[in-house]
């Protein structure tokens, strides 16, 4: 893939020399990446953007998970609930995000609420289907054993089904986090917040290379870290899976 990055040649476009902070040679020439400018603007631009991005993601995944989790438990009991919820989730999931954001803006206005509605709706399908698949995947022998030990339905759910469903649920959370990190960058087109903001700012004024690369790399890093955190969480919460992996 590195070949792609080398192809192309110089970054073009007119450069407005007022980027705030320093005016080193690199900044004036709009070099590929100016460390000096990046470090000067870290606390003013990138740090708050990164924190906002994390907030956007955590809120969306948190709310999305709460809704999906309850729906999945309900659908686990009442199977007829699953097809309509899955269908609705698939519909929401297919809507292009920029279109979704624009249409939501004309209903709920330009604010975080609008953005979160769209972001939450993108997590529903993944989290619902994964939680449900995890719960349904528990083998009937295990359930029989639990019932045979005299467990009540609630105990079976919390002590047997949910722990066994954890790997699948967390796999869903991994996808959801990465998805939301990705879509939250587009959200900056509507509400100037998060790591998409520096990117859209740079498009709007001067195409300053460092800004593009810094925000882009931070965003990719955030997605990878989010994915990795949940992968780690999965290992910690399901030690038996690791043991089985070792034995296999």
């Amino acid at each position: 893939m590195t070949g792609l990055f080398l192809a192309g040649g110089g970054g073009g476009g007119p450069v407005i020399p007022n980027f705030g902070g320093g005016t080193s040679k690199c900044v004036i020439d709009n070099g590929r990446f100016c460390w000096d400018w990046f470090t000067q603007n870290w606390s003013g631009t990138f740090e708050p953007a990164l924190i906002q991005h994390i907030e956007l993601t955590v809120i969306a995944v948190g709310i999305g998970f709460a809704i999906s989790f309850l729906l999945a438990i309900a659908a686990h009991r009442a199977r007829w609930l699953a097809p309509p919820v899955t269908f609705l989730g698939s519909l929401l999931y297919t809507i292009p995000s920029l279109a979704f954001f624009e249409i939501m803006v004309s209903i709920t206005g330009i604010n975080w609420f609008t953005v979160e509605i769209a972001l939450v709706s993108y997590t529903l399908l993944i989290l619902f289907t994964n939680t449900l698949a995890g719960l349904s995947g528990v083998s009937s022998e295990v359930l029989d054993a639990a019932h045979g030990m005299g467990m009540k339905p609630a105990q079976v759910l919390w002590k047997v089904e949910l722990p066994l469903a954890l790997p699948t649920i967390i796999a869903g959370l991994r996808v959801a986090v990465v998805t939301v990190v990705s879509l939250a960058t587009v959200a900056a087109y509507i509400v100037p917040a998060g790591l998409g903001k520096p990117i859209f700012d740079a498009i709007g004024s001067g195409l300053f290379n460092t800004k593009f690369i810094a925000a882009g790399v931070l965003c990719v890093a955030l997605a990878l870290v989010g994915d990795g955190l949940f992968a780690g969480l999965q290992r910690v919460l399901t030690p038996w899976a690791a043991a089985r992996r070792g034995a296999a």
Binding site: S106, T168, N209, A223
Partner: protein, 265 residues
């Protein structure tokens, strides 16, 4: 609510030429990107699946690709490519490649070993095993990967308008010229387009599914409680769970996560 629906409709009827030409650009851009991703991804995935090796590579490329936000890729590439379609096409190919590769790999890799043995026993050459047994059985899943990619790409190609590549995003990005009506109109067209692509590829998938497998697929999705015909991200996990559980649980879980769709941008 009705006001902006009417406004959007008015915009479309008064800007037919603009809408059609932007729609054309949008489709060409998307088709180019998906085509490049198919040319790169399908042969590689099919080959890796055929030789049953490098699953680590096929699956992890997809996991990595899934984690790359398209807007970030566009931004990172821009200093190297400049503003325009090149930037967008590269970013879209990077977006489209992973699901196509992984699905192609999994599709061929998971073809029943007994079936392949039977074909060999009947004297088929390795090439014939690939073209007459493995590929026909793998086609539906390969097309599912292409469908996933195509839906992402059509949605994400909207960003082309912001990055100087044209397409329907161009209308959304020009509030000064086209106003709110234009934005809403373009948004509606995009949503319809995404659904049409989804449905068209579902149809293609059905067409390439060997007749004997069609019925069982619908039954399977009913049994799971999914909406029949409509893809659900749980489609893959279940199919694999039976086969892989216990033996290579860790690897298969990653594979499932990788082949699961996510929304485009």
């Amino acid at each position: 609510m009705n006001d902006f629906t009417d406004g959007a409709w008015n915009f479309i009827t008064t800007h037919v030429n603009l809408v059609l030409s932007d729609l054309g650009t949008h489709l060409v851009l998307s088709a180019e990107s998906v085509a490049i991703a198919i040319v790169l991804g399908v042969p590689l995935g099919v080959w890796l699946g055929h030789i049953h090796r490098f699953s680590f590579l096929a699956i992890n490329i997809s996991n990595l690709g899934r984690a790359l936000p398209s807007l970030a890729i566009l931004a990172i590439l821009l200093p190297y490519t400049g503003v325009g379609q090149l930037d967008v096409v590269i970013a879209l190919v990077i977006l489209a490649f992973p699901p196509i590769l992984t699905n192609s790999y999994v599709a061929v890799e998971q073809v029943d070993a007994d079936t392949v043995d039977a074909a060999r026993g009947n004297g088929l050459t390795p090439l014939q095993v690939l073209t007459k047994v493995e590929l026909p059985l793998a086609l539906p899943l390969i097309f599912a990967g292409i469908r996933t990619s195509a839906v992402f790409v059509v949605a994400t190609a909207t960003l082309a308008g912001i990055f100087g590549g044209g397409g329907l995003g161009d209308i959304i990005n020009n509030r000064e010229s086209y106003g709110l009506n234009g934005i809403i109109a373009a948004s509606y067209i995009l949503i319809v387009l995404a659904f049409l692509v989804q449905i068209a590829f579902l149809g293609l998938e059905w067409l390439v599914t060997p007749p004997g497998l069609r019925v069982s697929r619908v039954k399977r999705s009913r049994r799971r409680g999914g909406a029949p015909g409509w893809p659900s991200p749980a489609d893959l996990p279940d199919e694999h769970a039976d086969r892989d559980r216990g033996e290579e649980g860790a690897a298969s879980e990653d594979a499932l996560a990788a082949t699961r769709p996510r929304p485009g941008l």
